[in-house]
């Protein structure tokens, strides 16, 4: 009997090839990441548990991405100073300070490698599965225990195979694929499960596209999401394909269910407020008036996302009164966007470009919404009050739809742009 991808990664880590879905296994993660927002609590828990040192500090990374630069001077500096304490007292030498969003950095800087197990104190840790890495989020008590013991218990999950066939139409992107999958599975359809993407359509997707999909798989409740390793994975990580070729779906592996999508049939997708799984073809949302557009986040802040938005915005001006906020996900993406002229395009179109960070997706300044306001966002969640007051409204889409809609002042399909006069 063959194995699912998640089983293969757990077997690699534990050396136990008898594991079955439902078993609880103890793994030694290859890397663990802590975001600044949880540093004080991680330290508190280390102290409460009685750990006076981190067992394998060389495996840990601390990222300052949520609270830097400081937005609230009475509260936020604590999170910065506690993050520094993790370095000084607990000897975690690897820190990323103001270099971008943690989840983007974890693959961009090659911390989350193919074939490894990574855990982090944030739900969107599922992202790194795009590179064939079993990655899953935990809270700060669990993280303190991981730091103290280098161990994490995980239940071997059941898996859902998602077969992608065909080729995406122009202006349809990875975000539309994952919105469609979350809409079909619903917010709990992937609960405790591994979502495993395969098929010719999956092989065609770029690494950034794969990371977008795995990032948002969490919104279906998934424990992890995984793509197979191929030549693109090997190239991205500068590895020999032979080293990672084993990260492949076995034909005879037992999957709980199989979902198949013809990418050629997929239309741009929209998640309506207030539910990530309330997903429709864009035709059901066209004409919805919007006050703001946000392009960025760990879901859609890559260089490819910037390119998609710049291509649509080039030489045009956004709708009067609409606010467009663009946040490249990392300094690397920011620099490349400057070199390639994307930032100039955004500024000329009337956008505000902000420093690489989580930004308003995590409810931080600037660009938050007030009662009755509507934002179209490329981020991953549209929960009540997430990007402003509880009576504001969040629609989720791809960067292509977001950019086109910023020009129109209402939700439109990018294909409709030629018909609009601006």
């Amino acid at each position: 009997m063959g194995h699912t991808l998640v089983e293969k990664l757990m077997i690699k880590n534990t050396g136990d090839d008898s594991i079955r879905p439902g078993d609880i296994v103890i793994v030694n993660p290859d890397c663990y990441m802590i975001i600044d927002a949880y540093s004080p609590s991680v330290i508190n828990k280390l102290e409460e548990m009685g750990f006076d040192k981190v067992l394998c500090p060389e495996k840990a990374v601390v990222v300052f991405d949520h609270l830097l630069p400081v937005g609230n001077p009475s509260n936020d500096p604590l999170f910065i100073s506690k993050s520094v304490e993790l370095r000084e007292k607990y000897k975690i030498q690897t820190t990323e300070k103001g270099t971008g969003i943690s989840h983007t950095l974890m693959h961009e800087k090659r911390y989350a490698k193919p074939g490894t197990i990574v855990t982090a104190t944030d739900s969107h840790t599922t992202t790194y599965g795009g590179g064939g890495c079993l990655s899953t989020g935990i809270g700060y008590s669990d993280m303190a225990a991981v730091l103290g013991t280098d161990e994490l218990w995980l239940k071997v999950p059941n898996a859902i195979k998602i077969v992608l066939e065909g080729k995406l139409k122009p202006h349809v992107t990875a975000k539309d694929i994952v919105l469609k999958v979350v809409g079909d599975l619903k917010a709990d359809g992937g609960q405790y499960k591994s979502l495993e993407f395969t098929g010719p359509g999956a092989q065609q997707l770029s690494m950034q596209a794969r990371y977008t999909i795995c990032n948002m798989a969490l919104e279906a409740g998934a424990k992890c999401a995984l793509f197979e390793a191929d030549d693109k994975t090997a190239e991205y990580f500068d590895m020999d394909l032979d080293e990672i070729r084993w990260i492949q779906v076995d034909e005879d592996a037992e999957y709980e269910s199989v979902m198949t999508y013809d990418l050629g049939q997929l239309e741009p997708q929209i998640a309506k407020p207030k539910g990530v799984d309330d997903v429709y073809d864009i035709s059901k949302a066209i004409g919805t008036k919007i006050d703001e557009v946000f392009i960025g986040s760990c879901t859609n802040g890559s260089i490819e996302d910037m390119a998609v938005a710049a291509d649509i915005l080039k030489g045009k001006t956004i709708s009067p009164y609409l606010k467009l906020v663009v946040i490249p996900a990392s300094n690397k993406v920011f620099k490349e966007s400057i070199e390639l002229g994307y930032i100039e395009t955004f500024l000329k179109a009337g956008a505000t470009v902000s420093h690489p960070s989580c930004g308003l997706c995590a409810g931080f300044p600037f660009g938050l919404l007030s009662d009755g306001e509507v934002v179209l966002s490329t981020s991953n969640r549209n929960f009540i009050g997430r990007m402003g007051t509880k009576d504001s409204f969040i629609y989720l889409s791809s960067p292509a739809v977001a950019a086109a809609s910023a020009l129109a002042g209402e939700i439109v399909s990018p294909d409709m742009l030629e018909l609009l006069t601006h």
Binding site: I24, A37, Y38, S41, K45, E48, M49, G50, F51, L67, N72, N75, D76, L78, F79, T121, D122, S123, T125, G137, I138, G139, Y140, S141, D142, A144, A145, G148, T149, W153, K155, A187, D188, Q191, Y192, G221, K223, G275, A362, G363, F364, R381, F383, I384, G385, R386, K390
Partner: protein, 170 residues
């Protein structure tokens, strides 16, 4: 953890996310007490003021979906909630809640059959729940989790282990 928990039911819907349990803007308040005052405020404005120790949340599917913030179960715990019954729990919330010593019970029927404010008794010793004159069985928990749960959460579990190993090392 007490073997029998008894209190009033706070009835909640499906897909209650951690942003609703505790919004981002309250995460960075300096004390747990201040954070707890904002628990569930966008859903039940009087929750934090009216909830009393021993009350039980009864919810639908996917309770605690969304962010990994442990502040969410912590805020509920600090309000006096030490037991949550739901059709299902989101994965990270499940770990976080168990780790801080909240007992979680999966049950497919209670949410549909109970009323907000009803009395409920959760008997961990005999593994059953009583409310509205009906009795429900509690599902089994994996052994590893049960050990953490019996220790009163992950913090206590490791504190005891570390204390023992330090004694043993002397």
């Amino acid at each position: 953890m007490a073997n029998i928990q008894s209190g009033r039911i706070w009835l909640l819907p499906d897909d209650v996310d951690t942003d609703v349990i505790l919004a981002v803007r309250h995460l960075f308040l300096p004390t747990a007490e201040e954070r707890a005052r904002h628990a569930l405020e966008n859903l039940i404005p009087n929750f934090a003021t009216d909830v009393i120790a021993g009350d039980v949340i009864v919810a639908g599917k996917n309770f605690g979906c969304g962010s990994s913030r442990e502040y969410a179960p912590e805020a509920l715990y600090d309000c006096g909630i030490s037991c949550i019954v739901a059709k299902s729990f989101a994965r990270i919330f499940y770990r976080n809640a168990i780790n801080i010593g909240i007992s979680l019970v999966e049950n497919a029927d209670i949410q549909d059959e109970c009323e907000d404010g009803d009395l409920i008794t959760v008997d961990h010793e005999n593994r059953n729940i009583e409310t509205g004159g009906r009795r429900y069985e509690m599902p089994k928990v994996p052994k590893h989790l049960e050990e953490i749960f019996k220790a009163g959460g992950l913090v206590n579990y490791h504190r005891k282990r570390n204390a023992l190993s330090k004694e043993g090392g002397k």
